[in-house]
C-alpha cells in the first residue's frame, strides 16, 4: 500500500444522483470512507447500494454528483486508479473451464504490482484447489476466488458487493477473517451487505441507505445506542439489548422489499 496522508478519505462523494428511466436509484447521496476503515453500506433490496458502489467503482456514470476515489476522479486517469482498486462484483461468474490458478494468473497480469499467484492463493486458502476448474468449486470457494481476483494487486481500496450472500456460516466466517487480515495490512474496505452481524463484525462505520438516500450513519455501536435511547428494547424480549438489525428495521420499516 502506498503511503499517503492519513486524513485523505479513500472515497468521497457528494450529491450523487442516478436514475434509470422513471426509477430513481440514487437521490443525492453523500458518503465519506476514511482510509484504513471498513465501511458498510446497508439497505433493503432496491435501496441503491449496488448502483452506488458501481458508480464509485467507475463502472457507472452518475447523472450528477462529485466522486473522488483515492484522491483521483473517474474519467481523468482511470487506468492508474484501477491499478490501486480491488473489486468484487455481485453477479460475476468466472470462466468455468479455467483452473483457479489460471484465473488468478490472468487477473494478476493486468496489474503492475502485487503478490505472486501462489501468495494470493495462500491468502484466500485456495492453494489446495489451484488445479481445480472454476466450475467445480463450491459457492464459498468461488467467492474466495472472486476475492482473490480483487486482491491480486494488494489494492489500497477494496470494493465488495454482498460478498457473503448465499454462503454457509463457515464460509462467511472464513471470508471475514480474510478481510480482517487485509485490513490489518492497512487496506480500506467498502462493502454492501444484508447481514447485520456481518456489518457489526467487520465494519467500523455503516451507512443505512433507502430509496437512494442516506438515513443513518455511524459506528454499529453508536447506532444501536441511539436506537436504545429512542426505543428501549421490550422487557419481555429474549434478547437483552437491541441489535444492528433492530436499528435497520427501525429505519427502513417492516414492509417486504421483493424488488
Amino acid at each position: 500500500m502506498t503511503d499517503r496522508a492519513p486524513l485523505q478519505p479513500a472515497v468521497l462523494c457528494r450529491g450523487l444522483h442516478k436514475r434509470y428511466g422513471d426509477v430513481v436509484a440514487v437521490a443525492g447521496l453523500d458518503l465519506e470512507v476514511r482510509a484504513g476503515e471498513c465501511f458498510g453500506l446497508l439497505g433493503p433490496n432496491g435501496a441503491g447500494k449496488t448502483t452506488t458502489i458501481e458508480i464509485l467503482e467507475g463502472l457507472l456514470e452518475p447523472d450528477a454528483g462529485d466522486v473522488e476515489v483515492l484522491g483521483m476522479r473517474w474519467g481523468a486517469d482511470d487506468r492508474a486508479l484501477r491499478q490501486r482498486l480491488g473489486i468484487q462484483l455481485q453477479e460475476t461468474q468466472l470462466q468455468e473451464k479455467l483452473r483457479v490458478e489460471e484465473i488468478v494468473r490472468l487477473f494478476r497480469s493486468f496489474y503492475e504490482r502485487g503478490p505472486s499467484v501462489s501468495e494470493v492463493l495462500e491468502m484466500v486458502e485456495l492453494e489446495p484447489k489451484r488445479r481445480s476448474y472454476v466450475g467445480k468449486l463450491s459457492g464459498g470457494q468461488k467467492q474466495r476466488l472472486a476475492v482473490a481476483c480483487a486482491l491480486v494487486n494488494e489494492p489500497d481500496l477494496l470494493f465488495l458487493d454482498e460478498p457473503t450472500t448465499g454462503l454457509d456460516p463457515q464460509s462467511r466466517r472464513h471470508l471475514w477473517s480474510l478481510l480482517e487480515a487485509y485490513r490489518r495490512r492497512g487496506g480500506t474496505i467498502l462493502l454492501t451487505t444484508h447481514y447485520m452481524d456481518e456489518a457489526e463484525t467487520l465494519c467500523n462505520r455503516v451507512a443505512i441507505v433507502d430509496h437512494g438516500r442516506l438515513i443513518a450513519l455511524g459506528s454499529p455501536r453508536e447506532l444501536i445506542a441511539s436506537l436504545e435511547r429512542e426505543a428501549p428494547p421490550r422487557p419481555q424480549s429474549a434478547v437483552p439489548s437491541a441489535t444492528l438489525e433492530d436499528v435497520f428495521v427501525a429505519h427502513t420499516g417492516r414492509h417486504l422489499r421483493d424488488d
Partner: protein, 348 residues
C-alpha cells in the same frame, strides 16, 4: 509481501485463457475441426468425378413399348425402367427416372426442363431411338474427359468449403464466447480491471488464429490425401491469405458480438450476416451466376474475396501480388469491423 513486475503480458494471458477454454469444450472442437472434415468428405464423395452415370429412362407400357425398351436397353449408358402411366410424373419428380417415353409413332418424351439431368436424358434417349430407327451417325467425335487434377468440381469446391469454414467458425466461436462472457458478467469484471480493452478483443482474434492452423491444415491435408486437391501457389502466400481472411471474419464476429446480451440474439445476427454470403460468395456454385449489376456488391463481400483468392492461390498458383485486391478487401473488413466493435462494445 513480495512485489514483482507483471508476470506476462495481459494479451498473452487473455489469449491463453481463450485457447484453454476452447480446447476444454469438446463440442466446440468437434464443430470447428471434425465437422468441416466430415462435410468435405461427404461433399467430395457426392461430387467426385464418376464413371459415366447411366441415364434412367422410363417407358410406359402399351403398344410399341417392347420395341422401345429393346432399342434403349441395347444403347450404351441408358437404364430402362417400366413405369405405369399414372406413376410417370411422380417417378420424374422423385428422380426415379429422368425422362419418360410414351410409345407411339412418333414417340413422345416427357421430361423436366428445369433439371439438367432430365434434359440430358431426353437427348440420350432421342439419339438411341433415332439410331435404332435407322439414322446413321455422320461422324464419330473424339472425346476428352475432364478429370485433370485442378480442373474438377472437387478442386473448385474445397477452397470454397475452406472459406466458408473460416467464416463460420470465426464468427461463431468469437461471437458466442464474447456474448456468453457478457451474459455471465465476466466482461464487466474485466472492465473493472486496468486491462486495456483493446487487448481483450485482440486476444479473441489471436486465439482464433491458433485454431485456424488446425482447421485449415486439417481440411487441406485431408483434401490433398483423399481427393488429391492441389495447392499450387506458395504456402507462404496461402498462410498470409488464411491469416488475413480469418482476421476479417474475427473482426466481423467481434462486431456482431459487440452489443447483444444473449446468445439467441447474437445467433440471429450471425445468420443474418453469413447467410447471404453462403449463397452469393461462390461456395457451392459460382458467384458469376448472379446478375451483372450485383457483381460489384458480391465482390466486395469478404467471403467472395476469400474464396476467389483461395482458388487463385490453390488452383492457379497465384502470387501474393496477384491476390492483392482480395487481400485489401479482407484487410479492410477486418480493420473496420474491429475498430467499430471496439468503439461500440458493451462491457456490462
Amino acid at each position: 509481501m513480495t512485489r514483482r513486475e507483471r508476470p506476462t503480458h495481459p494479451l498473452i494471458e487473455l489469449t491463453l485463457a481463450r485457447v484453454l477454454e476452447f480446447v476444454r469444450e469438446p463440442e466446440a472442437v468437434f464443430w470447428v475441426v471434425v465437422f468441416p472434415l466430415a462435410l468435405a468428405l461427404a461433399l467430395g464423395i457426392a461430387f467426385r468425378t464418376k464413371a459415366d452415370e447411366p441415364v434412367y429412362a422410363g417407358v410406359i407400357d402399351g403398344a410399341g413399348a417392347s420395341e422401345i425398351r429393346t432399342a434403349l436397353t441395347s444403347a450404351p449408358g441408358i437404364t430402362v425402367r417400366v413405369v405405369a402411366r399414372d406413376r410417370a410424373d411422380a417417378a420424374l419428380r422423385d428422380g426415379a427416372v429422368q425422362v419418360v417415353v410414351l410409345p407411339g409413332s412418333p414417340p413422345t418424351y416427357r421430361y423436366d426442363a428445369t433439371r439438367p439431368e432430365s434434359r440430358l436424358a431426353r437427348l440420350a434417349v432421342d439419339a438411341a431411338l433415332q439410331r435404332a430407327a435407322g439414322r446413321a451417325d455422320v461422324f464419330t467425335a473424339g472425346q476428352q474427359r475432364l478429370d485433370v487434377i485442378g480442373a474438377r468440381y472437387i478442386d473448385w469446391l474445397i477452397p470454397g468449403l475452406l472459406g466458408m469454414n473460416i467464416m463460420g467458425t470465426g464468427m461463431w466461436s468469437i461471437g458466442f464466447s464474447v456474448v456468453y462472457a457478457r451474459a455471465r458478467k465476466v466482461l464487466k469484471r474485466l472492465a473493472a480491471t486496468p486491462m486495456a480493452r483493446r487487448d481483450y478483443l485482440l486476444a479473441q482474434m489471436l486465439a482464433r488464429l491458433v485454431f485456424l492452423a488446425v482447421e485449415a491444415g486439417g481440411l487441406l491435408g485431408f483434401a490433398a490425401l483423399v481427393f488429391s486437391v492441389p495447392v499450387r501457389g506458395s504456402l507462404i502466400t496461402l498462410t498470409v491469405l488464411l491469416l488475413v481472411g480469418a482476421s476479417a471474419f474475427s473482426g466481423l464476429g467481434l462486431l456482431v458480438a459487440s452489443r447483444p446480451r444473449t446468445t439467441e440474439v447474437a445467433s440471429g445476427w450471425m445468420n443474418f450476416v453469413m447467410l447471404p454470403m453462403w449463397v452469393v460468395s461462390g461456395v457451392f456454385f459460382s458467384s458469376a451466376l448472379f446478375p451483372e449489376a450485383t457483381q460489384p456488391l458480391i465482390h466486395a463481400l469478404p467471403l467472395t474475396a476469400l474464396n476467389d483468392a483461395l482458388r487463385a492461390v490453390m488452383l492457379d498458383g497465384a502470387s501474393a501480388a496477384a491476390i492483392g485486391h482480395e487481400l485489401a478487401i479482407l484487410g479492410g473488413w477486418g480493420v473496420v469491423s474491429f475498430g467499430v466493435a471496439l468503439k461500440v462494445f458493451r462491457w456490462r
